[in-house]
Subunit: 405 residues, 2 copies
């Protein structure tokens, strides 16, 4: 019997509710709002169960009914997904928690969670016949999209700030991407990409300017639920730059609730930012529904150096609706948490991921998290991509020399 | 009912056949030969089936009956294993092959296959009550052992050549290891570690000086077989430094054959080395059973810059017994294959892994591999760990500038 691969239904504007046809290329709504993907959830519920997922290969395509790629032959994959949920027992003692998990997105192709968005986004781009993409990036998203574009046989043009992690340049170069650096921020890269895309007919895959990256990120939420036996955790802590991760996790929960696979959305979502770039935190503290451009932003957690995100209102909505929170962390706390987690748990996180551990400590100290609650902190990438944040010296020996401890 | 976690039986010397007790700490045989782990394979066969493995979590501990850790509570894990077997369709066309897979070991904690040996080796060290380990390394093994030692709460002392990949220093530092650099080769690091271990009472986990790293590496072979539905591939191509990978894969096949899960060992094993350090290739060409120390070795594929491996005779035995081959690749061919694979398949391999693609091309051109044979090339690590091998420039734009394609 033919089994339908995707139950993709339509696209809907997150601002004005206008519907769009997903069988042709779409970008954003005529009102400027990002488009969200809708599925025939009732039919999915009739066709597939959590037990079916469990039998499939350990990658994000196991959730294909809930993903936008209609024909399996268009799937562009490097085996991404089903990243480990690591129990952090030593940190539990340090932070006075009983159930702390770190979901390690560092173990994905290209070393960050960006692989999820790139895999789904480029698969759908391929399905829609797109041949050339363009993207402004703080490094890791560009590296992921360049890599998956190479696998898809699609040309990529990537623009990143010159201060973005150096390894991400290598990844773009290796993947055969057209790479440009800009002496500025991601917002400057975005302006350059916009112009170039119009001039050269490139498909601009900036954050939330195409609908499907979000669907890839959504699989983090699906995996967390499956890995906890479809029992939602009390708190999920996520580092927030463009915000697609937290929006995706919230979208996953809404879809699972609508299908009845979880009873209610009991998880409080926490957005973590750096003190040097905290527009979401500021907006949340002021109970606003949108953020303001954060001037002169600066942080070692380069991936969350995003002064103003297109989807800020969706991030804030997810926080408000789930009774969540927003926390700003200093660069010093980030480095301390990074080293503490590497030394105590053997997990070398990226700075953005380390910020979630600092946030867990802060929220526990404030009593906002209860000791017995189940907490999931997202490590969005591998520390391997950020050698420059560590400052140390190792003694150099001559071959005949002895070491002394 | 109590289910036995491991069917560990004994240790046996790979040279003289003398048996050793695995319930206490062992190193090498009194004759100097590496020790191999033996299991009660008949009982495993009665207790578990391939179908049982398929239901377990996607990490290497799914094979726990065939691993040496007796009590599950001693397992030290970061979720390692079940790495993707990626079909390389574009390279198939280029290389005139019909069935080329790349097993991507870059998607493991610490970014290389070394995580397998470290996970199993340190779990068993923990089980045996070891508190301090020491290791000479070309970088990646040291990084992996330092990382898993941190997770196990075990102290590590790591010595590596100053020319080893810089990121591996960061990993050791982040994990709280005592790290030393040496102005020399891994053989010099080995001499320093030997002295320090005697002086300070450290457990020396040099390649094949403890028996269990090999058991971790063995899981690559188990996974390849499971991922190909227990149908052995015709050829497996592996980059060879210390040689534990190829020895482990061969050991996996022998155990599976003895259990009757595969009919025969029909796979030919190929050892790939760099032209600047090819002791195994030279010995194989001369039909010798051991290699000679390779003087003034040099290659950009740093992980296989091993002038003389303790287990060379086991590697050669595996090649001879399987009618395999040994191939030397130039640094230029390595870089070309690395870029080709990144551009055509979206897979950014380490130089050692890229050497296997160059070897596949060479062996296919020679007719040694038939077009219709199933070939598995092992990418032993992520290209992310070797930014220094790529040489390129990206244009730098001012914020107001336009890019021109």
């Amino acid at each position: 019997m033919y089994k339908q691969y995707s139950f993709l239904n339509s696209l809907i504007c997150s601002r004005c509710g206008k519907k769009y046809d997903p069988s042709v290329v779409q970008t954003v709504c005529s009102c400027g709002g990002p488009l969200l993907t809708e599925y025939d959830l009732a039919s999915i519920n009739e066709n597939v169960s959590p037990q079916d997922f469990a039998k499939r290969s350990p990658n994000l395509w196991r959730y294909h009914e809930l993903l936008p790629v209609v024909d399996e032959k268009n799937v562009v994959t490097l085996g991404e997904g089903m990243t480990p949920m690591l129990r952090a027992k030593t940190l539990e003692n340090k932070l006075d928690l009983n159930n702390l998990y770190i979901k390690d997105e560092g173990i994905l192709p290209t070393g960050t969670f960006k692989a999820r968005g790139a895999a789904v986004g480029l698969s759908k781009a391929k399905e829609l016949g797109i041949r050339k993409i363009s993207m402004p990036t703080n490094g890791n998203a560009g590296a992921a999209w360049a890599t998956y574009a190479a696998r898809a046989g699609i040309t990529s043009v990537i623009v990143m700030p010159k201060d973005a992690p150096k390894i991400t340049r290598c990844e773009c170069y290796a993947a055969g991407s057209r790479l440009y650096l800009v002496d500025g921020l991601i917002s400057d890269a975005g302006a350059i990409v916009k112009k170039a895309s119009e001039k050269y007919g490139l498909f601009d895959v900036s954050t939330l300017k195409e609908p499907y990256r979000l669907e890839g990120k959504k699989t983090m939420g699906l995996e967390i639920l499956e890995q906890l036996d479809w029992k939602a955790p009390d708190v999920i802590i996520y580092p927030t730059g463009g915000g697609v991760g937290i929006i995706g996790i919230y979208k996953a929960m809404k879809e699972l609730k609508e299908m009845g696979w979880i009873d209610e959305i009991s998880t409080r979502l926490v957005s973590v930012q750096a003190e040097g770039c905290a527009p979401i935190v500021k907006a949340w503290e002021q109970k606003k529904s949108e953020s303001e451009f954060w001037k002169n932003s600066e942080t070692i957690a380069f991936g969350i150096n995003v002064p103003k995100a297109l989807g800020d209102f969706l991030v804030l909505d997810a926080i408000y609706k789930t009774n969540g929170s927003a926390v700003a962390i200093s660069d010093r706390e980030i480095i301390e948490s990074q080293l503490e987690t590497a030394r105590k748990e053997g997990l070398f996180m990226c700075p953005e991921g380390a910020a979630t551990i600092a946030a867990a400590r802060k929220l526990r100290n404030q009593g906002w998290i209860d000791k017995n609650e189940t907490v999931v902190a997202l490590n969005t990438g591998s520390g391997l991509k950020y050698p420059e944040v560590l400052d140390f010296n190792a003694p150099l020996l001559r071959p005949e020399e002895e070491l002394s401890l």
